[in-house]
Each structure stands twice: as C-alpha cells, then as structure tokens.
Symmetry: C2
Subunit: 679 residues, 2 copies
C-alpha cells in the first residue's frame, strides 16, 4: 500500500499547484472596456452547454450504472452483490471525476482568456505566462484526479475490476463530452467562417458576426473540456489495464510509483518551463515537454535502482515514452507550417479546391504509416523486453509502456489547453479593440498553440493505441478469470475474422455520424446568421452600438450538439454488444483488434489531414501564393472547413470510441461468455 | 483429371463465343464523317499506352521471374531446380495471360465505341446490343483465359504451388495495369473537366478541348484493360487459394467443376440477356446478372447431386454468390442516383464544396459497415457450413465461397466493360456531331453503365475480400508444408500485432501515392491545355477546321502514368518484404490480416464516396437544385473531381494491392521462415 498512498500524496501536491495557479490567474486584472462583458458571455455560454450536456448524460450514466450493478464483475445471480454495488459506485465516480475535470478546465480557461488578452498589452511573455499557467491548472487537475482516483479505488477495494468500472465511467462521459463538444465547436467555427470570412470578407473574430461568441465558446467546450475528459480517460484506462494484468504478477507497486513520478515530472516541467523575452513560445512549449521527459526518465530510473524494480520494466516504460515523443513529432512534420506537406498543400490550393482536398488527404494517408510503425514497435519492443521474465510479464510490458507514454500527460495537457486559451484571447483582443500590437502577440501565441496541439494530438493517439492493446490483454485476462479458459485470438478463426471486419467498420460509422452532425448543425446556424444580417439594421455595416444576437447562435450550437452527441456513441456501443452476443468472446477479441487497427488509421488520417489544411490556410494568409483573398486562399478555406470536423470532432473522438468499446467488452465479457449464439 | 479437362473444353467454348461476338461487332458499319478518324485516334492512343506500359513492366517481370527461379517453391539450393523453372515460367505466363486480357479488351472496346455511336442512330436497342456484346467479348475472354490457365497448369504440373506463381504473375501485371491505367484516365478526365466544363463552360466531350481524346483513351486503358486485369487476377487468385487448401483434402474436382459451371452460366446469361424496345438498359444489365446467378445456382446444385459432391460445399458456394450480389446492391444503394445518399449529397452542394465533400465522405464511411458484415458473414457462414466435415474443410469453405462469389464474373465483366464503351460512344457522338437524338440515347446508356459499374465494383471488392481471406489460409498452408509448423495468428502476439499495424497502413500509403500521381499529372496537363488555348488561333472560339493537338495530351497522360505506376506498387511490395524479414511468418500473418481489414475499409470508402459524388453531379445536371451552371453544380464538380481518383484510381487498385501482397507473402514464405530477424 506504500506506493498507492504516495501516489495520493503526490496527487494532493498536484492539486495544490493547480489551486495556486488558479488563484494566481484569477487575481490578474482584466482590461477596461467591453472585454469583461464579452468574456462573461463566453463563460456563461460554456457553462450553459456543459450543464445541459451533463443533464442529458445523467440519464445515460444512470442506466449504465444499473446494468453494471446487475452484471459486473459477475452477474448478480452468481457473485457477491456488494462487489456489484461497489462497481456501480466506481462507475458513477469515474464519470463524476471526468465531468469535474471538464468543469475545472472550462472554469480556468474562461477566466484566463480575458486575462491573457489583457496581459498581451504588456508583451508576449506576460501573455504566454497567463495562458501556460492556466493550461497547467487543467493539466495538474486532470492528472492528479486520475492518479488519486486510481489510488483511492485500489486502497479501498484492492480490486482491479473496480478500476475497470471507474474507467468505463470516465470514458463513457469522455465519449459524449468529446462528441458533443466537438460538434458544438465545429458547427460554430464553420458557420462563422463561411458567413464571415467567405461571404462578407470580414476578419475571423469580427464582433459583427453573430456566431463569433459561439465559436469562442466552442474552443472551450470542445478543446478544453473535451480534451481534458479524453486524456483523463486514457490515463485511467492505462492504469486499469495495467492493474488487471499486474495483479496476478504482484507488480502493483511499480505502476503507482511510475504514475506518481510522471505527475511529479510534469509538476517540475510546468514550474521550470518559461519563454525568454525574445524567444519563440512554440519552442518554449516543446522544450517543456522534452524537459518533463528527461525528468521522468531520470526519476523513474533512480526509483527502479533504489527500490530494486526490475530494470527491464523501466526499459519498457522508457520505450513507451520515447515512442510517444517520436509520434508527436511525426504529427508535427505532417502539420507543421515550416514543413514540406503544408507548403505542398498550400501550393495545390492554387489549382483549386479539388487539388487542395486531394493533396491534403494524401498526406493524411501517408501520415498513418510512421505512427503505426511507432506504436507497433513500442508494443513489440516492450513485450520482448519483458519476455525473459516469463508468465504474463510480456503483456505487462505493453501495459507499462502505455503508462510510460502517458507519464508526461500532465505537461501535454498543459500545452494543449494553452491552445484554446490563446485562441480565445486572440478573439477577445479583436472584439475588445485592444489594438494591432496586441493582436500581433496573440497571433504568435495562437500559432505556437497550433504547433503544440499537433504534437499533443499525435501523442494522444499513440497513447490510446498502446492503451487499447493493453486493454485487449486485460479483456483476455478477464475472460480467463471468468471462464478459466485463456482464449487466443487467431485471425484464422472465422468468428474472430468476422468480429475483426465489423470492428474495423465501427470507427468509420462513428466518424460519419459525427461529421454529419456537424454539417447539419452548421447549416442551421448559417441560416440563422443570414436571418440576423437580413433583419438587424446596421449590423452588416458595423453601425455603432448595433450588436448581433449572439445567444441565438450559442443556443443553436448547444441544442444541436446535445441532440447529435448521443446517437454516434450509442451506435458504437450497440454494435459492440450485438457482435458480442452473436459471436461471443472470440468474436469480441477480433472486434477489438479490428476496431483498434482501423480506428488508429482513421484517427491519424483525419487529425493530420485536418491540421494540415488548417495550417496550409494560415500559410497562405501569411502572404504566400497570393495571400488573403486570392483564389488559392478561397480553396484553402474550403480545405480548412473540410478539415474542421476531421481534426476537432471525428479524429480525436475515435481514441475515446476505441477505449469505450474496449471497456464495454471487458465489463460485459462474462455475459458474452455465457449467452452468445455462436461463441 | 476429368474436371480440369472439362474446364478446358468450356473455356474453349467461351473463347468461341468471344470470337463470334468480336467478329460480329467488327463487321458492323461505322457512320460516315470524322467518326472513324476520331475512333482511330482513340484506338492508337490506347495501344500506344499499352505497349509502353508493357515494355516497362517487362523489365520488372523479368526481375521477379528470376527471383522466383531462385526461391520458389523452395530455395534453389534446397529443392528441385526443375520445379523452380516451372514456377518461373508459370509466373511469366500469368503475366502474359493477364496482359493479353487487357489487349483483347482494348481491341474490342475501341472497335465497339464507334460502332455503338453509329448504331445509336437506329435507336437504343441496337446501340445497347453493340456495347453489351462487345463487353461480353471481354467477359468471355477473361474468364475463359483464367479457367483455361488454371486447368492447363493443373493438368501439366498437378501442383497448386505453380498456380500460385501463375497467379502472382497475373496480379503483378494487374497491380501496375490498374495503377497506370487509373492514373492515365483520371489525369485526363480531371484536366479535361477543369479546363473545359469549369473554366470555359463547354460540354464534356467538346472537340475543342485538347484533352478530350486523352479522356476517351483513358476510359479504355483504365476501365477496360485495368478492370479486366483486376478481375482476371481475382479469379486466378481464388482458384490458387482454393487449390492450395483443397489439394490435401482431395477436393480438386469440385473447384474445376464449379469454375466451369460459372463460365457456362455466364455464357447463357450473355446469350439470353437483352433489353426490350421500351425497356431500361440498366434493368436489362441487372436482370442479366440475376439470371446468371440463378443458372449457376441450379447447375451447380444439379452437378452436386449427380456427381455426389458434398452438398455443404455447394451451400458455401451459394452463400458466397448470394453475399456478392448483396454487397453489389449495397454499393448501388450508396451510389445510385435514385437513392437517398445521392440526393442528400446533391442537396449539400447548395451549401458549397466543403459540405459536398463532408457529406459524400460521411456516406462513404457509412458504406463500409454493410459490406464488411457481408464479407464477414460469408466467411463465417461458409466456414461453419463445412465445420462438420472436419480437418481443413472449414477453410476450404471460405475458399469455395470465394469461387462462388466469382462464379458469375463473366457476366460482371461484360456489364462492367459496357460502361466505358458507351461512355466513349457518348463522346464520339458529340465529337462526330451525330445529333441530339443520338446523344440522348448514349446518355441513357451511359447512366445504365454507371449503375452497373457501382454494382460490379462492390462485387469486385467483396470477391477480393473473400479471396484474400482464403489466401491467408493458403499462406498458412504453405508455411506448414515448408516448416511443418501450423502457425496460428494470435493477435495478442506482439509480432502479429506489429505486422497488423504496419499492414493496415499499406493501403493508405499506396492510395496516397496513386492520388498524388493523378494530381501531379493532371496539373501538368492543365498547363498544356492552357498553352494550346493561348497559342492556337481560333481554337477557343471553335473556328472551323481548327483542331487542338490531341496527341500532346495523350502523350502527357502516357508519360506521367508510366512514371507514376511503378513506385506505389513497389512500395507496397517492399514494405511486405521488410516486415517479413524483420518479423518472419508470424508478423506476415498479422500483416496480411491488417492489410485486408484496412484495405477493404479504404477500398469501399473511396469507391463509394467517389461514385456518390459523380452521381450527385449528374443529379444536379439533370436539373435538380439549380442544374448546370449553378453554384451547387460548381460545388458538385469539385466533389466529382475529388472523387475521380478515389473511385477510379486508388479505390479499385486496393483489391489488387491486397492480392499481390498476399501472393508475395506466400511465395516468399519459406525465406521468411528461414531468415527473419525476430520471427
């Protein structure tokens, strides 16, 4: 129990850092003028959405909790009732923790956006510091909550199954939070761009545009709350998978040790990272990531030597971390605005929108290979490293590599939350008329945020990849403990092959439903914006004192997202259950494998192609190939619009879809084993 | 030996039918005017490309033949030299047969296009009959060649491995023929559309457009020659896989019996199918397909009863055929112009190109699920059906289901070749000024060709899916006979998982390279077209007697396609070898599984999304949502351009890529078993 308790202590330190930075940000001044007023609108809009979203999800979570109560860890008519009660409670707490992480994120981000814009008047460094520390609040809060949750459940129940239930709670909330937030943010973004930039030719954050506040709200509910829930979920899932596999091996300690050291490394990283007066904020973010990696590697090596953990386990952890960084930088190559792909796509924009789409899509396809090799090599390497230890150790190697990859997640979240905060600050600087100098600074920060985002996204997908492989092993372990049979998933078995083909289709169907949701929703919003331009006198012309009805657009985004967020996730879950009840645990093994493989492909394709189009547009806006207003720019805007739901709705939601499906399979494994038609 | 000999006889009958129809078409009159001249240009262009393509491939095939001579069926330093010589010869013959199929196809198609246009002056039925019988020449020639090749090799060598080599020859030619033809046709098509339809607003086949002949050449080299090579390859691969699995079971007879009956059914189908005077040509094509299915089902059932084949084997064959038809009609749902998806995409065109792309892409994603369920269910069902027979029979079930799915391929090819012939006829009718009435008839035939094409494409992908599952089993069998170990491909094995992740990336990389090839090539052609419009006096205005330099565009398409066709295919093969030599036969098993799963996903996504965009454009051109020239139409043209390389270059080439990679793995299996680093 030593290491779980130490983990709890480190979590409390992490929460302390979060509270300290929260108060620090909160105490900062806000510029006079209408900044406060616009900021409040954004904050109110974000919280309204969150409340309505959580209200809808309450019902869903309640139903699932009851199902868990009946069937997990074993059907209520077979096992102990109290275990099932604990599992159901753990599930609910998983969801609550995840929801809280989103809540905290929104809360700090919507305080920080106005303060960051204000601080930008004093220069780049103060503005950077506000955004980075606010991001760190989110990073520390999420990772501390995850570590504390895992530690608490372990201390109280000592049963890895309960952490599975906790994890399922976290990821079912994350699934819908990502989908809902992603639909909200992209509906608003697309509608604002099409009516503002394309039709009227007004700037991105012009206050005349009725969708402009909704767009800024979207950054918060999509990128901050959604992303927080996502990475919280990945971390918990990695812990759960590792614990399920580690429990029979008696290797619980090292998981909590490395978890605690990862958080500690992120705390140091956050405290030490800063940008120099004339330095680049993008480099500052990246050097913070590298620093955190080095600290974690050193700390975990020392711990392994001092506490005599097997050094091979450390090796697997290190390998996982290393590959995570490599995958991150691969994403950076494919989406970075100083690299060849962005320049090539921007060049293709000159030949029209069709070539823009084809070129970006092709690079997106190419970006799949290096990441897949990375994930595959990490899995294989960590397995082989632990092979000499025998038993189920090799599988444990994959699980601990996932923990290693996620060790620096505190830093990753801090960097990632930086993005939407400075994006909001940029909008506020424009809407609040803070002047060109301030806009210039927030633009620089925004670009840095985009680069960081590309790296963290690649990282998140890589981490999810390793985690779900570990979850597959955990599934096998759970089936083994339920049935006494250690099933192998031979792809030549037709049940497994059947499962694999169907499982591979699920990320496609899931993505399609989300993308269609965004399309539908933004079309409704475009109509509303046209209505306002047509009926509100003086709005188009920017007459003094004439304001659009911002709330209407926020309301459309909210209602639409709420309506669309349930079906896609539910479809994925229902297909999983149907396959399980038809083909049993064998088909389910294939299903999960197919789901992982195609899910990773589509996630990488969409995230990278989307990021690429976005940055190609920015590259042209920087004056290349004709600059703003040119035909190339128009083509680039179309590419960017296609990329929006790719990179911010469907792409990053696939991680969560894979995790949820893997956990659902684990939780219902005993049922599939007992009641399937062919299995 | 009875059934192989009967197969040979039926093949000769098939070839007889092909020759008869060839002569029949050849004897038809060609309209006076410049039709003959334009037709000759097309014919010459197509043959020039084919010759240059085959010349390049000669070197490649020679190198591979030498490699086979050294390593297959067993390394020359271990096994019998004469076996290796036979295998190398079989490989070369496979390539030659496949090349001949393409040659025959081009030859008849470029005779039929002018004669179909001429016949259209007499009405729909005569024109339909010309195109259909010309298509049947191709269908009969391809299937007869495949059946005869398989039978001959079996009669001469009695060794299923030799058919593997033959099959690899056929599919390596098909891989490059599809890629090369696909790049040729879409470069020309896109360049012609962008400069003609979009920039100048002139009709599709306006003779002023310098790319118009190249576009028509492309239909022949891409759709006729490429598709013929593809389906020839699928059929041979299905035979090879089935024979490898069937040999130890002593079930050779039934394979040849069903193969012969399939060809016979297609012959009857072709002879009996006709369109009524006021009937719809689309319905005539479909009813021909259904008729062929019924004939095959009845004949094969009778044969099973008379010759006392196990009725379960017939069941598996029937199941395969049934699922093929279902998958075909699924494709029809997603791309048919009287179905909801086309109408929805056309509607989305009103909101601009971004929504066009997003909606079409989403439907493409959705279309993956039903086909995957179909393929999975066919594999599972045929496996289960033969489970009571024990041994390796269940795997044989999957292989024979693939044979069943491909039984009606003669009819499928006939329908598919119909498309490019009437497409060409439409162009010729316009260029040759045959009048609006003739254009009207060829338009109707063109639409019917599109519908048939969607069904046959879905069908081809489904057949390839089942075939490659059977090839995976054949790979296992070959490794078994080489090493004595029957490997199982457990996805929890990290070597297999590693292979799976890398294998899943290959179709993505392969597609990306092809799409980029099309983009590059058509950009070059667009520049040439602009040059001609700028420098040739009176061309734009359509001054009498002023003609563009058609040959220049044909030359660009040819040179570009030749340059681009090798790298993509070679990359896929090299990655396969690298994975094999790193991870051995285990990694290779995973690699093939991953390759199949993601390959099917991407193939279906791209084929169906592409077809959908094409038909949405036609739907608008028919006067919906503003009709030709409207903003919705402009958006639809962009969607169609994106869809062009999706549906006619990358999408349908993926089948072949999967087959080639599977065969390469089988041929090199003994090397991987002996020399891999980790395996």
């Amino acid at each position: 129990m030593l290491w779980p308790v130490i983990s709890l202590v480190v979590s409390i330190i992490g929460i302390g850092v979060a509270v300290y930075y929260y108060k620090w940000v909160q105490a900062l001044p806000v510029a006079e003028g209408n900044l406060n007023q616009i900021g409040s609108l954004i904050r109110k809009g974000a919280f309204t959405f969150l409340k309505r979203e959580y209200r809808i999800l309450r019902t869903f979570l309640g139903v699932v909790a009851i199902i868990i109560l009946i069937i997990f860890p074993s059907p209520i008519w077979q096992g102990s009732v109290s275990d099932n009660v604990i599992a159901a409670v753990a599930y609910v707490f998983g969801a609550i923790f995840s929801g809280l992480a989103g809540y905290v994120g929104i809360s700090i981000a919507t305080l920080a956006n106005v303060r960051c814009a204000t601080a930008a008047r004093k220069g780049l460094v103060p503005a950077y510091t506000v955004a980075f520390r606010a991001g760190a609040v989110m990073g520390m809060a999420v990772v501390s909550a995850a570590l504390a949750g895992a530690a608490l459940i372990h201390i109280i129940t000592g049963d890895a199954d309960m952490l599975m239930a906790f994890s399922l709670g976290a990821s079912s909330l994350a699934l819908f939070a990502k989908a809902g937030g992603g639909i909200f943010t992209k509906s608003a973004d697309i509608a604002a761009d099409l009516t503002g930039k394309v039709e009227l030719g007004i700037p991105e954050d012009d206050p005349r545009n009725p969708a402009v506040i909704a767009d800024n709200v979207g950054d918060n509910v999509g990128d901050v709350a959604g992303m927080g829930a996502d990475l919280f979920d990945s971390q918990i899932a990695a812990f759960a998978a590792a614990l399920v596999i580690a429990a029979p091996l008696g290797e619980i300690d090292i998981i909590f040790c490395f978890g605690a050291l990862g958080l500690l490394a992120s705390i140091f990283g956050v405290l030490l990272a800063r940008v120099k007066d004339n330095g680049s904020p993008g480099k500052a973010l990246n050097s913070g990531t590298i620093l955190t990696c080095v600290i974690f590697a050193v700390l975990s090596l020392i711990a392994s030597l001092v506490f005599k953990f097997n050094i091979r386990i450390w090796g697997a952890t290190f390998l996982g971390m290393l590959v995570g960084v490599i995958i991150g930088f691969t994403s950076d190559f494919f989406t970075g605005d100083d690299k060849k792909p962005v320049a090539k796509v921007a060049e293709a924009c000159q030949s029209g929108p069709a070539f823009t789409i084809l070129t970006g899509f092709s690079y997106g396809l190419l970006s799949i290979l290096p990441s897949m090799i990375g994930i595959g090599a990490a899995a294989m390497g960590s397995y082989m490293l632990l092979l000499p230890l025998g038993g189920n150790y090799p599988m444990f190697g994959i699980a601990i590599a996932a923990i290693g990859m996620l060790s620096i997640v505190g830093m990753i979240i801090s960097n990632d939350a930086f993005g939407p905060i400075v994006d909001n600050a940029r909008g506020l600087a424009e809407m609040g008329n803070l002047g060109d100098e301030v806009l210039d600074i927030t633009d620089k920060l925004d670009a840095a945020g985009n680069t960081a985002k590309a790296i963290t996204k690649g990282f998140a997908i890589g981490a999810a990849g390793l985690t779900v492989i570990a979850l597959l092993a955990a599934f096998q372990e759970i089936v083994f403990s339920a049935t006494g049979v250690r099933i192998s998933f031979d792809v030549m078995d037709p049940l497994i092959f059947f499962g694999m083909l169907v499982g591979a289709s699920v990320p496609a169907v899931f993505s399609a439903m989300l993308i269609m949701g965004v399309s539908r929703n933004s079309e409704v919003m475009v109509k509303e914006i046209h209505r306002q331009f047509d009926t509100i006198d003086g709005l188009k012309e920017g007459k003094d004192g004439v304001l659009p009805e911002y709330e209407k657009c926020i309301d459309i985004a909210t209602v639409g997202a709420i309506k669309e967020l349930i079906p896609a996730g539910l479809t994925a879950i229902i297909i999983t259950l149907v396959v399980g009840f038809i083909g049993g645990t064998m088909a389910m093994g294939g299903f999960l494998a197919g789901n992982i493989v195609s899910g990773l492909c589509f996630a990488m394709l969409m995230s990278n192609a989307g990021g690429l189009w976005d940055n190609a547009k920015k590259y042209i806006e920087d004056g290349n190939f004709g600059g703003k207003g040119s035909d190339a720019h128009k083509a680039a805007v179309i590419g960017d619009t296609v990329g929006d739901p790719f990179k911010d709705t469907a792409g990053p939601s696939i991680n969560t879809q894979i995790t949820v499906v893997s956990l659902v399979a684990s939780v219902t494994a005993t049922l599939f084993a007992a009641f399937s038609i062919f299995g």
